[in-house]
């Protein structure tokens, strides 16, 4: 038999066993295989009951994040060869509730994303007939990096504050807020302060910096958060000293249901 490598998977089958357990598999060590390919091999040939999420197999959909040897990683973009001779330990992403095997509960994360109002908020309504908004390459560059987040949640797994403080809105959500705050077409900063200035917002981050180290897309949430703290503190003092001049939220862009 060709070379193989051992894979230890942290499994959890709530209907069969109340506690998680480790299970070991042996898979071929193919040169181009990612950790995800090994999991697919296990599911197809060794154990159909192993559950995990995946879709694109090219590092853009953000589904396949797991802990690989204790570090959060996109399993489709992490290769078996790098872990020779093994064994490789695979666990669900840290800091999340686990529903089954390698599948975590993402509802909380999705709620947090929404809480920062991640859509373009404009003062006046623009119509298609007004044509495009002008945005120079330099203006685009000012926020471009923050648009690259694939919502993989690796940063949430890497950040101890997320684990210690469930209210913390978290690195990706703040980076997403900044993506809109720094977009020259947007004027919704004021509406987003509500979440970010409050308890659970940006000031709960203690600048550990692990989020940026874990991020596979170089979004740099650390920088986004720090820059927000500077902006947010300024806003705070403005509101404290001269409330009238502070940017009052005009609208938050939400389209309500009419009953």
């Amino acid at each position: 038999m060709d070379k193989t490598i051992k894979i230890q998977v942290r499994r959890y089958l709530p209907e069969k066993q109340p506690d998680p357990f480790w299970q070991e598999y042996e898979v071929p060590l193919e040169p181009k295989w990612g950790v995800l390919d090994a999991l697919i091999y296990i599911k197809d040939h060794l154990d159909g009951s192993l559950s995990y999420r995946w879709s694109c197999h090219m590092g853009v959909c953000g589904s396949c994040g797991m802990m690989v040897n204790g570090e959060p990683a996109l399993t489709c973009a992490t290769f078996l060869e790098e872990y020779q001779p093994g064994p490789i330990r695979i666990e669900p992403l840290a800091n999340f509730k686990v529903l089954r095997d390698l599948i975590i509960d993402t509802d909380d994360f999705m709620g947090k994303l929404k809480s920062v109002k991640p859509w373009l908020i404009t003062d006046e309504k623009r119509d298609i007939t007004d044509g495009e908004n002008r945005q120079t390459p330099a203006e685009l560059k000012a926020f471009k990096q923050y648009t690259l987040c694939i919502n993989c949640m690796l940063c949430y797994s890497a950040c101890p504050v997320v684990g210690l403080n469930e209210d913390f809105v978290g690195p990706a959500a703040i980076a997403l807020a900044q993506r809109y705050n720094y977009d020259n077409r947007d004027s919704g900063n004021a509406a987003r302060h509500d979440t970010l200035l409050a308890h659970g917002g940006a000031f709960d981050c203690t600048l550990i910096g692990e989020c940026s180290r874990a991020c596979p897309k170089h979004v740099d949430p650390t920088g986004a958060i720090q820059r927000y703290k500077a902006d947010g503190a300024m806003e705070y003092w403005k509101r404290l000293i001269w409330p009238k001049a502070a940017t009052a939220p005009k609208n938050d862009g939400i389209v309500k249901q009419i009953d």
């Binding site: 308890h199 947010g232 503190a233």
Partner: protein, 116 residues
């Protein structure tokens, strides 16, 4: 998540200012006043030193340095307590304790440099 505003940005501003001050100035003071002077690597008459610190700029400088450093430290210690003890309940008492400490320290410092 509660959406009520709280005062984190307030404390953070002082934390930041204190961080800047302390990182630029504390080490040299430790070296000169805490190590060199006691070991007599250099000597100075207390009177000369007193005259120096009585200069209005020196008073302001000392006040800012000590007070802001205390606020900086108070904020960090508050969060570190939370991080190390894994206890959410501790955050509010810790915050009171730390910031009160810094405020008391600030008042004492003010009195001290004022009455030099």
């Amino acid at each position: 998540m509660s959406s009520s505003r709280n005062n984190d940005p307030f404390w953070w501003s002082f934390f930041g200012a204190g961080g800047v001050f302390s990182s630029f100035f504390i080490p040299i003071h430790v070296l000169l006043l805490g190590i060199a002077l006691p070991l007599a690597w250099w000597t100075v008459e207390p009177e000369t030193l007193l005259e120096l610190v009585r200069h209005p700029l020196a008073r302001i400088y000392l006040f800012m340095l000590i007070s802001l450093t205390l606020f900086h430290a108070a904020h960090r210690i508050r969060f570190t307590l939370h991080d190390l003890l894994l206890a959410k309940q501790i955050d509010t008492p810790a915050a009171y304790l730390c910031y009160t400490g810094a405020i008391v320290g600030t008042v004492v410092t003010l009195v001290t440099v004022w009455t030099l």
